[in-house]
């Protein structure tokens, strides 16, 4: 594997950290390099610090590591926050003329590159471009051809006019020349470029794109980190495909609007995070009993309550499985990678319509705000299939009428799936309700009909279990004694951890599970392994509990709930430690 390079820009909120980082990530992606980005928020001391980190290689990268090679530090605190990741060969770029940076000390053997960012930016046309000067300096340090940065600047500022693009290019060159002239130094870095073509996107964007691809036409939501990006992505885009986005007054409204649109026959969705899921849970039973297809995206963040809103956690699993009074059939899908966020969204819409029930699509903060490069054909639109399930029109509605001539949207069938008629379909008028109902949707408390309807709704789940493919994703050594199971976004870090363990002579088999309910039966896999470890970002081991419940055996657990995603090297060490403990016991 080619050496990877880790870069970051950090400062205070308001320093333009995100957009600076994004420009550099885009430049790398356009240079044919793989990129994996992450965002760092205050972890020590007080709030205010934020950083955008980029890991890049000519090979695929799919996690973050504890290492930083080049850091653009706009504040002294940026250095403090990253001391553990910086090493002897690290280079720190800073502006010694900035008041707060005048007395900054560059630790140990690291190289400090003092560049008058603001002054050079002013000479190029405005102080606002000081971060771009720093990017130019970084290009020099990392021997990265500046034309790639030009290309990213063009993309970023194209709609603001050529003048601004040119000024930015000049600012970048000023940074580059300054370092070249003032620092007669050979750095250890040399970022090659390739001819590969990549796209760069985060999990929320992948979900939004998946929704449009799947024919979603209606989205209602209420802003909440880290799900807001789904809504902002769709806004202005879904309209080009005949859809619409509404910002509702709260999540109670958002999910009911989405439900209304779905009753109208649209593919419809909403997205939110923990506190919003609590409110939306009110409507879950109604979606299920009215047999309405709906996709509810939960981009998890740290809870409970407001918790740590900008931090990682996979703590809502039980809420998604069991939330709501009564017994509510539902599916829970949990894409394990950013590209899978796209495909699982498409699948979620198909499953929702084929089985006419609510489908949770869950991602989490680390996946939502993380960007990763992919080959564009990863998202092959020709491969998108739309299956609307059992929909009847005027021509075939006749076969689904009651003796008294009423359409039967809750007809008792062998597979549990009943016909759906969209408003406007002649003779299809019917009632949908949260009350228990008969086949026509009319309220009933008839004991037999009650049982028949409950069984029918559950039959859909059984049918889906049989008809659909709920397999986990598998990698590592298929014959290894050690089986590691995970769900959701830990897959990337785990894949790299497995390589590290392999280098150390430890074979591991990994099952990464994208389906929480229905989920694959892992009994044979667990029984065949000597050691089983379940990895997840929560304290209680909610998925581990499910595995134990399914398999009737104990598993070891690796849990993390400090708000930070797993890193590959850390995960490798944790797995080793868990196995060692097991061996001692």
């Amino acid at each position: 594997m080619a050496a990877d390079f880790n870069w970051a820009v950090g400062g205070e909120a308001g320093d333009g950290i995100d957009s600076t980082g994004k420009i550099f990530a885009q430049a790398l992606s356009r240079a044919g390099r793989h990129v994996f980005t992450s965002k760092d928020f205050a972890s020590r001391i007080r709030g205010g610090y934020t950083a955008y980190k980029v890991r890049t290689s000519v090979d695929k990268v799919q996690s973050v590591v504890d290492r930083l090679d080049v850091l653009i530090a706009l504040t002294p605190r940026t250095i403090e926050e990253n001391l553990d990741e910086l090493h002897e060969g690290s280079v720190i770029i800073y502006d010694g003329e900035r008041t707060t940076m005048q007395d900054v000390e560059i630790p140990g053997e690291m190289t400090g590159i003092d560049v008058p960012l603001k002054r050079l930016a002013e000479e190029a046309g405005g102080a606002i471009m000081r971060n771009v000067v720093a990017l130019g300096a970084a290009c020099e340090v990392a021997e990265f051809p500046i034309e790639n940065l030009d290309s990213a600047l063009e993309k970023r500022f194209a709609d603001k006019g050529q003048k601004l693009v040119d000024n930015n290019k000049e600012a970048a060159r000023a940074g580059r020349s300054y370092v070249g002239e003032e620092y007669d130094h050979e750095f250890d870095y040399d970022l090659e470029t390739t001819d590969e073509d990549y796209v760069l996107l985060n999990g929320d964007e992948a979900i939004g794109m998946g929704a449009i691809a799947a024919g979603c036409r209606f989205y209602a939501g209420y802003p909440i980190t880290p799900a807001t990006d789904v809504m902002t992505y769709l806004t202005g885009r879904i309209e080009r495909y005949g859809g619409h986005v509404v910002q509702a007054e709260d999540e109670l409204s958002a999910i009911n609007m989405a439900l209304g649109a779905a009753r109208g026959g649209a593919r419809s969705m909403t997205a939110t995070s923990g506190p919003g899921i609590d409110l939306m849970t009110e409507t879950f039973g109604l979606i299920a009993t009215s047999e309405t297809p709906l996709v509810i995206c939960n981009v998890m963040r740290s809870g409970p309550s407001t918790g740590m809103p900008t931090k990682q956690e996979q703590g809502d699993l039980n809420q998604m499985l069991y939330g709501g009074h009564g017994e509510v059939p539902r599916f829970v899908l949990a894409p394990t990678t950013i590209d899978e966020c796209f495909w699982k969204t498409v699948e979620a819409f198909n499953l929702a319509e084929k089985y006419q029930l609510p489908v949770y699509l869950t991602a989490d903060l680390s996946m939502a705000v993380t960007e990763q490069t992919f080959s564009p054909d990863t998202f092959d639109m020709d491969a998108v299939e739309v299956d609307r399930g059992f929909v009847v029109d005027e021509a075939d509605i006749d076969g689904h009428m009651s003796d008294s001539g009423g359409f039967q949207p809750h007809e008792i069938t062998d597979d549990g799936v009943s016909p759906r008629a969209f408003p406007g379909t002649a003779d299809g008028a019917h009632m949908s309700t949260g009350l228990e109902h008969d086949e026509q949707g009319r309220r009933t408390e008839d004991t037999e009909m009650r049982v028949a309807q409950v069984d029918k709704r559950n039959q859909k789940v059984e049918t889906a279990r049989e008809r659909e493919d709920w397999s986990p994703r598998e990698f590592g050594d298929a014959d290894a004694d050690t089986l590691v199971i995970t769900w959701g976004s830990n897959e990337g870090a785990l894949a790299e951890a497995v390589e590290m363990l392999d280098d150390e002579g430890l074979d591991v088999r990994v099952l990464s599970v994208p389906y929480v309910f229905p989920r694959p039966d892992l009994t044979d896999d667990v029984e065949a392994a000597e050691n089983v470890v379940v990895v997840e970002c929560n304290e209680q081991g909610q998925f581990a509990d499910l595995v134990e419940h399914d398999v009737l055996a104990r598993v070891d657990r690796v849990n993390k709930y400090n708000g930070v995603r797993f890193k590959a090297d850390e995960l490798a060490a944790e797995i080793k430690a868990t196995l060692a403990e097991g061996a001692e016991a």
Binding site: A213, Y241, G264, L286, D382, V384, P423, A429
Partner: protein, 287 residues
Amino acid sequence: MSSDIRFTDFKSDKQPTWCPGCGDFGTMNGMMKALAETGNDPDNTFVVAGIGCSGKIGTYMHSYALHGVHGRALPVGTGVKMARPDIEVMVAGGDGDGYSIGAGHFVHAVRRNVDMTYVVMDNRIYGLTKGQASPTSREDFETSTTPDGPKQPPVNPHALALASGATFIAQSFSSDALRHQEIIQKAVEHDGFGFVNVYSPCVTFNDVDTYDYFRDSLVDLKETDHDPTDRGDAKDVILDSEKEHQGVIYQNEESVPYHEQHGVDEDMSVIPDGAPEGATDLVREFY
């Protein structure tokens, strides 16, 4: 759709279980007649009902319908109409459903001005839960949960609507059948959010806001020099605490409904069986 629709086509085969004499019978009849009269038929109509005695209307009427969660009828109606601009949407529920648990949605539905009709069957009581104070109950109205009366002023829904930028505000009385139907019909025909508060007496739990009370105290705005297109006039009527009124209180004739403001005019139920044309552009944007 056929033009020979009669209002009875909007009746379902379920017999209403409302108490004999309940105002909701008259309210529903007027709604069905207004729908038939405006050229709608059950297959192109969507009724969203709240939860309450009033909410049972979804069961007694025949149309596409959803009887949902207490207080959330307006968001559902909003979603239906956005997805299906071709469908006539009517939302109906009680005073508790609309002005208590659903009050937040009311304000925003009014602001959004989606082209649908909202009928609140206002009996100034919680009927279904057997007689507790509602947001429109009088300050001194004694109920099982307010033995000395709520001691809070009732919500003024018309004022709430006006303050939220309503384009159509009306009041009707379920037992004045012709006027009630006529007013609902105006709301249906209105280009935007047609809001009608209907006095729909509860004969079982409210012995104050009775048929006699409304019959005696209602002033019909049609018989006054009230100008419904004048916001100032509307404000005066709405803030007049001495009298009860019926009629169209306010109508903005320049109302531009949501779907026109936002260009939402497609039937969203129709989609291709693969990704929409041009979807690959979305991938290229990430280059």
